[in-house]
């Protein structure tokens, strides 16, 4: 992404005479990629208002899908962060067993497509449950019954699938972040009598979070887009709602264009938010 904050562009000139220094400096600090977001939002609003047939109708039909998409993304991301942090700590652990388990997790999960994970959890895991439940029933009927009665909601299956799959990527991001902190930081903390975990919590992780913020933002946006894969699990996310509308109206072009623009609005928005947080934290440091 080009650094737009330092190069004066057409709009700088258009803003008028050099007397408007205030406006200019505000304009320089303003992250101009927001304009692209506003443009796309404007286009959607324009279409919905001026061409309500079919755009207002499409929007009304898919809007609950937007909520589902956001919910899946945000809830999954929360759990992904937890898994990633634990996994990352495991990957840098001095305990060979813990490190081995974390590495095995990463290697296995990274080698399997996210879509396949979702399909496996949705279609294959219930069979595992049945086999396990039945075999336990013969020994302890109550426990067996309990296992057999377990049932994933599609939403839960989606969150679990994403958490498992993205947790592996997040593990590697946390590992890289932790390892980017100079060794002296850990030594200084330990020399003051802190335990390994205290040093991690108070010294290493707060620093590592700043380092991994850009890849973290990337992962979030990638997850938001990949959340469209859940339409195979009978979850009515934005993509699935779009397909449902096409199925009843045959308006492929209008519907998928609208769906694409709605995704774009969300990804542009969250990208900007992460950039803003990043800037904030880098200012805080000095």
């Amino acid at each position: 992404m080009p650094d737009t904050s330092s190069t004066p562009g057409i709009l700088d000139t258009a803003l008028g005479p050099s007397g408007l220094d205030m406006g200019r400096s505000l304009w320089r600090r303003f992250d101009r990629w927001w304009l692209l977001l506003f443009a796309v939002v404007g286009l959607v609003v324009f279409l919905v208002r001026e061409v309500p047939e079919p755009y207002a109708e499409i929007f009304a039909f898919v809007q609950d899908g937007i909520v589902i998409t956001l919910k899946i993304t945000i809830v999954s991301f929360f759990f992904i962060l937890i898994v990633g942090m634990i996994g990352g700590l495991g990957r840098v652990s001095h305990n060979r067993f813990i490190r081995g388990v974390a590495s095995l997790y990463v290697e296995i999960v990274r080698g399997i497509p996210v879509l396949v994970w979702l399909l496996w959890i949705w279609y294959a895991l219930p069979q595992v449950r049945d086999v396990v439940g039945n075999s336990i029933s013969s020994v302890a009927p109550q426990v067996g019954e309990l296992i057999l009665s377990l049932k994933f909601e599609p939403f839960v299956a989606a969150v679990v699938g994403f958490t498992v799959a993205y947790g592996a990527y997040m593990t590697e991001i946390f590992r890289a972040g932790i390892q980017s902190i100079p060794k002296g930081q850990m030594e200084a903390a330990r020399s003051l009598g802190m335990t390994y975990l205290q040093a991690m919590r108070h010294v290493i992780l707060p620093k590592a979070i700043r380092v991994i913020l850009p890849p973290l933002g990337n992962e979030f946006v990638t997850l938001l887009k990949d959340s469209s894969l859940v339409s195979v699990l009978a979850v009515s996310d934005l993509t699935r709602r779009g397909r449902e509308y096409v199925a009843r109206s045959f308006l492929s072009f209008d519907t998928f264009t609208m769906v694409a623009m709605l995704y774009l609005i969300m990804t542009l928005f969250f990208t900007r938010v992460f950039v803003a947080v990043e800037r904030r934290l880098s200012v805080e440091k000095h």
Binding site: P182, A188, A189, R190, M194, H286
Partner: protein
């Protein structure tokens, strides 16, 4: 003489095939200031780092303040809280202000309340001469100021022993004195100190003992005067001639 506060018996340390510490024996009395000199790679830093177990030794015994470091059951963190360490590269926590750097371990390790720890930290910043830098981040401080914050941070744990690992080697010349002054005051106050340094002026002025190390061994262990004016060993003479020439 009282009981030594640090005892090292037949200590060996191997880094792969490198014999970093070769049968080191050392007693340090409470209140003693010991300067350790020697060529790079002679094991000075390793010796220092073995005393707070940042570098576990391969064999031998180390007793700090009556606690056997080499016992598996020893709570190393308890020992470390009694042994302050100052590093060549300061190793301040860059995301915290000077005050927070000094306060953190007091709260986490010593379990002091926030107010108590902060008041103590301000007092220590006063001691090292930069009370006005409490709210500055490390990146806003000069090297000398950073190292003084690092000394304050170590002192905040009320250690019985302070270890200095080349505390002035990363500093610009004009900042060395301000750090040495703080160390000098500390030495006068009766702190037990082990200092790896090439500052011979400090060794002469503050140290009761100077140890010369080479190839993992303690070659000489004597008073500063004796070492600088009448070194016994040829290796010591050679080393001193190299560093005192200019």
């Amino acid at each position: 003489m009282s009981e030594p506060i640090i005892e090292m018996r037949n200590v060996h340390k191997w880094f792969g095939k490198v014999h970093a510490l070769d049968d080191v024996n050392l007693d340090v009395q409470p209140g003693e200031v010991v300067v350790i000199i020697g060529p790079s790679g002679s094991g000075k830093s390793t010796l220092l780092r073995s005393i707070n177990h940042l570098e576990p030794v391969s064999s031998g015994e180390i007793v700090v303040d009556g606690i056997h470091l080499t016992n598996k059951s020893t709570d190393i963190n308890a020992v470390r809280a009694e042994v302050g360490m100052v590093f060549q590269q300061f190793n301040l926590f860059p995301h915290m202000t000077a005050l927070d750097n000094i306060t953190l371990a007091q709260r986490v390790v010593r379990k002091r309340t926030g107010d108590e720890a902060k008041a103590n930290s301000r007092q220590l910043l006063e001691t090292v001469g930069i009370p006005e830098k409490a709210d500055s981040f490390p990146a806003q401080l000069s090297g000398g100021q950073q190292q003084r914050v690092a000394i304050a941070r170590a002192l905040a744990m009320n250690p019985k022993i302070m270890l200095f690992d080349e505390p002035t080697s990363a500093l610009d010349p004009e900042m060395i004195k301000e750090v040495l002054d703080v160390m000098m005051d500390l030495a006068k106050s009766g702190m037990t100190m082990l200092v790896v340094t090439h500052e011979m002026g400090f060794a002469r002025a503050a140290a009761q003992r100077v140890i010369f190390m080479d190839e993992g061994k303690i070659i000489e262990d004597t008073t500063p005067q004796a070492l600088f004016e009448a070194p016994e060993h040829d290796r010591t003479k050679l080393f001193l001639s190299k560093i005192l020439e200019h």
